[in-house]
Symmetry: C2
């Protein structure tokens, strides 16, 4: 069982504490302000009001005994950087830190962060990609060339046909790996399986080909 310390209880930090608590992990929640700490008292295993830029504070927390330290201090770049550096120097196994900007992220890496996260920036990208596509509900990039996407079929010319008739592999060089119909999901569908209106196809292929399919759908 792994142990977690979350330093900085903004929206991201609180979400980490809540998710860890839901899965019954041991989590220490720390913030310099009382209110966020109070909000976590019923949820975290342990809480503390403290300034994590202070080496003494981190020593007393036994920061070196934690498997994962998550630094959720966002708007105070100096506090984020100092906390990350000290946590790593004092012996925390893995330190994951939230960054404001790319430059902030680079500094965090230099001072020892094992992983740097950009929640707002990543969500900005992801939202735009979904807005610019019309039928792509969700996607995951498998590499910088290939993507997997869930595409909703609303185009009447694509429905009431089976996969052989639709022939997405030839037309778009895409592989269909699942068809979701109502709440049911059909994985590795048969070529004779049908696609109906509002079904969601999970497809894999080159990013431009997925976008071409999205364009082609009305």
């Amino acid at each position: 069982k792994k142990s977690f310390a979350v330093l900085g209880l903004g929206r991201f930090g609180q979400s980490v504490v809540e998710t860890l608590a839901e899965t019954h992990q041991d989590v220490l929640a720390v913030d310099v302000q009382e209110q966020p700490v109070n909000e976590m008292t019923e949820i975290a295993t342990q809480t503390l009001v403290a300034d994590t830029r202070d080496e003494e504070v981190l020593r007393e927390l036994n920061i070196d005994t934690f498997d994962y330290v998550i630094v959720g201090i966002g708007n105070n770049m100096e506090a984020s950087i100092l906390t990350t550096m000290l946590a790593k120097e004092l012996g925390a196994e893995k330190v994951i830190a939230k960054a404001e900007t790319s430059d902030h992220g680079r500094v965090l890496k230099r001072v020892g962060a094992d992983q740097v996260i950009f929640p707002e920036r990543d969500m900005g990208h992801s939202i735009v990609r979904k807005l610019l596509s019309n039928h792509i509900l969700n996607f995951i990039d498998l590499s910088d060339k290939y993507t997997l996407a869930e595409v909703v079929i609303t185009d009447p010319t694509f429905v009431n046909q089976n996969l052989i008739q639709l022939n997405l592999r030839k037309r778009f060089d895409l592989t269909i790996i699942a068809i979701q119909h109502d709440q049911k999901i059909n994985i590795s569908p048969q070529p004779t399986d049908m696609v109906m209106l509002h079904d969601v196809l999970t497809v894999v292929g080159p990013i431009e080909h997925v976008e071409a399919l999205d364009e082609a759908l009305k």
Copy 2:
């Protein structure tokens, strides 16, 4: 071609503006503070320093002519709610708003937001899920029961075998839809294809089964 207005240029709003500009979309960037607007001047199609809680401001922007209005005002719940409500009432096609908390999100929906986003909260969940699993690099939930995940194979007992020998379908009730080896991706692999050390398998199946595979890997 669609038109976009981004009201509130925090990290999320700026990321939306930058991503839209990269894809050559028309985007108007607005903030009540000068500095974020100056940062976007070279990037956005148009910029403006203004308080978006003001109905007159939104009318003068012709907010009703935009296909998408993205409200990136985070820490000021009142401004976020008022801006969202007014933008929708004045006729913006789709309004997407960033929320601080679940309750904030519910209010935004009630005042007309077409979509509500929780970047920090969602990233908190997603980070924890990855931390608690040892070999899952990335995942996308296809429904509340099934997930697709990229699993890195570091376990010596899983490598130098082909898919028939590995037999993940019988052992874990999972479908392998791709094998990534070095930078190359092999989609819909053949049963005779081999899995090597550090390969990444893209698998689909019930969430608990993906977690069971993750547990079984050393």
